[in-house]
């Protein structure tokens, strides 16, 4: 599998570290909303299809990337720097169907 790092170009998956579900929102640090914290730490959307996820180009420029990748075909439809804080291109929930 190749991931096209916006800085380094297409690189083999061996250079990357998977950092999981990119849909999760970290609650405000001072928040005492345990429900939100638990959801952030433990719960995953885990879709069969397009998945927003985070990868670190740990064996390259070390930037974190927001990747939309299909979990059925492994097709990658978008890659962007996580730092840019781009909104995920895949749906958060199944009911948000366009």
């Amino acid at each position: 599998m190749l991931i096209t790092c916006p800085y380094c170009g297409p690189r083999d998956v061996i250079e990357f570290t998977y950092q999981g579900d990119g849909n999760r929102e970290r609650p405000d640090p001072a928040s005492q909303n345990f429900e939100a914290w638990n959801a952030y730490v433990y719960d995953r959307l885990n879709p069969a299809g397009d998945h927003n996820e985070l990868w670190q180009h740990s064996g390259g420029c070390r930037a974190h990337l927001r990747v939309v990748r299909n979990t059925l075909t492994h097709e990658i439809s978008s890659v962007a720097f996580a730092r840019g804080n781009h909104a995920p291109a895949a749906r958060r929930k199944s009911e948000d169907k366009p």
């Binding site: 599998m1 083999d12 998956v13 061996i14 998977y18 999981g20 579900d21 345990f34 638990n38 959801a39 730490v41 433990y42 719960d43 995953r44 959307l45 885990n46 879709p47 069969a48 998945h51 996820e53 990868w55 990748r69 979990t71 059925l72 075909t73 492994h74 929930k93 199944s94």
Partner: protein
């Protein structure tokens, strides 16, 4: 249906093997059942079997979307062991081990369970102490475990490199002699035949497409072969848990689906007898009765429902294999395959009533599901029949994550790719 035995084999052979009957019926689904089990894999089939055998509940259907045993029971590395660190896991897997020990007889089906032992190799004194901690934990729960010194290990596995100049020399190992391997497909077929003989309907090529509900309550399923109602609906679809639970409106789960690759070499004369694992990476291997070395390593490490892996893990697994067995450089890998694993947030499974009324959930097996097959079905059947967990599965709740009651054998936290 006829009992299997050497005698029946001979009698049938004399008749040209014309009289053998199907190992299980192929019934059409009825309109309703007491219990529907979604998933015709090892766990679903064993659940059906124990519902019938232990609890007398026989009006049961097992729904399988493809061919029976097409999930992870048909694509694993066949190891069976109960050598866990944390008591909740050890107790559960030891119960499984005891069921394995009588399984072929019980099912009248030779699942080829062979207690050839499982040896975890240690490569530093600190790791050896870690294994001692685990082995002692097992012994304090009545489970067999012993430590082995390098010379003893060399006698057991002559092909293993135990030389001191290895990059990661072997300093010892933790052995569970009662551990071993079983013929994975036969486990599914044996449970299927056993459940079928007790009246369970096993329905292949029947894909669940949605849930029937009455308010919150699950009252059945819609399938590619029509609607089927049931008092209780049990989900045992590890690998596809996220997909099936989403149909029931449960959007998120403490689970990620990951690909695990496994490999087999060409057939060889006996090379190793025990199951062996490498301590400085992630590698495990045994040899099948046919002679192929069956082995695997880590998951690929990213969410996937595609039963296909990628090269980095292939290379890693083979490199670790040769670090232990440098004589295998000229042996050849014959087949590889990929299974989809439910990776839970603490590396331990979920066997529970709920999360919706009328529903029962069995999932989160990571890559340890095969050896759990008997106990998973046994405790799940108990939970379905009695609406409460048995003490063996009581810790494996769904809410344990939120409550901080995680059962984290590897100590990796909420990071499924590291379990």
């Amino acid at each position: 249906m006829a009992e299997y035995s050497a005698l029946s084999l001979l009698a049938n052979a004399l008749k040209g093997n014309k009289d053998w009957k199907p190992a299980w019926r192929k019934p059409d689904p009825k309109a309703s059942y007491d219990v529907i089990i979604i998933g015709g894999g090892g766990h679903g089939l064993s659940t059906a079997y124990y519902l019938a055998k232990e609890h007398g509940i026989t009006n049961v259907a097992v729904l399988e979307k493809g061919w029976l045993g097409s999930g992870n029971v048909g694509r694993n590395t066949t190891a069976v062991r109960s050598n866990y660190l944390l008591p909740a896991n050890t107790r559960f897997y030891e119960h499984s081990m005891k069921l394995w020990e009588g399984l072929s007889h019980e099912l009248n089906y030779n699942v080829m369970f062979s207690q050839r032992g499982c040896l975890n190799l240690a490569h530093t004194p600190a790791q050896f102490d870690d294994y001692a901690r685990r082995g002692n934990a097992m012994r304090h729960l009545g489970v067999d475990a012993e430590l082995m010194a390098p010379a003893e290990i060399k006698r057991l596995i002559p092909a293993l490199d135990i030389s001191g100049d290895a990059r990661f020399p072997v300093v010892g190992g933790l052995m569970q002699r009662r551990a071993g391997t079983a013929r994975h497909d036969a486990v599914a077929w044996g449970y299927a035949r056993g459940a079928d003989r007790r009246g369970v309907d096993i329905i292949e090529n029947c894909e669940v497409t949605g849930f029937l509900r009455d308010g919150d309550r699950i009252t059945g399923v819609t399938t590619s072969r029509g609607d089927i109602r049931a008092k209780k609906v049990a989900v045992a679809v590890a690998g596809s848990t996220g997909r099936v639970m989403r149909m029931a409106g449960v959007e998120t789960m403490p689970i990620e689906s990951h690909v695990l690759q496994a490999f087999v070499t060409e057939s060889l004369k006996p090379f190793i007898d025990t199951v062996v694992t490498f301590g400085m990476g992630h590698f495990y291997m045994s040899q099948s009765d046919k002679g192929g070395l069956v082995y695997g390593g880590d998951i690929d490490g990213y969410n996937s429902y595609a039963q296909r892996g990628n090269l980095p893990i292939v290379d890693e697994v083979m490199s670790e294999m040769l670090a232990l067995f440098p004589g295998l450089g000229r042996v050849r890998m014959l087949r590889s395959w990929g299974g989809v694993c439910d990776m839970s947030m603490d590396g331990s499974p979920i066997i529970t009533a709920g999360p919706l009324p009328g529903m029962y959930l069995n999932c989160g097996w990571c890559y340890g599901g095969f050896k759990a097959t008997p106990a998973s079905g046994w405790t799940f059947a108990w939970t379905i029949a009695k609406d409460e967990p048995h003490e063996f599965n009581a810790p494996f709740t769904l809410d344990r994550f939120h409550r901080g009651l995680v059962i984290d054998d590897k100590g990796q936290g909420a990071n499924p790719r590291l379990h």
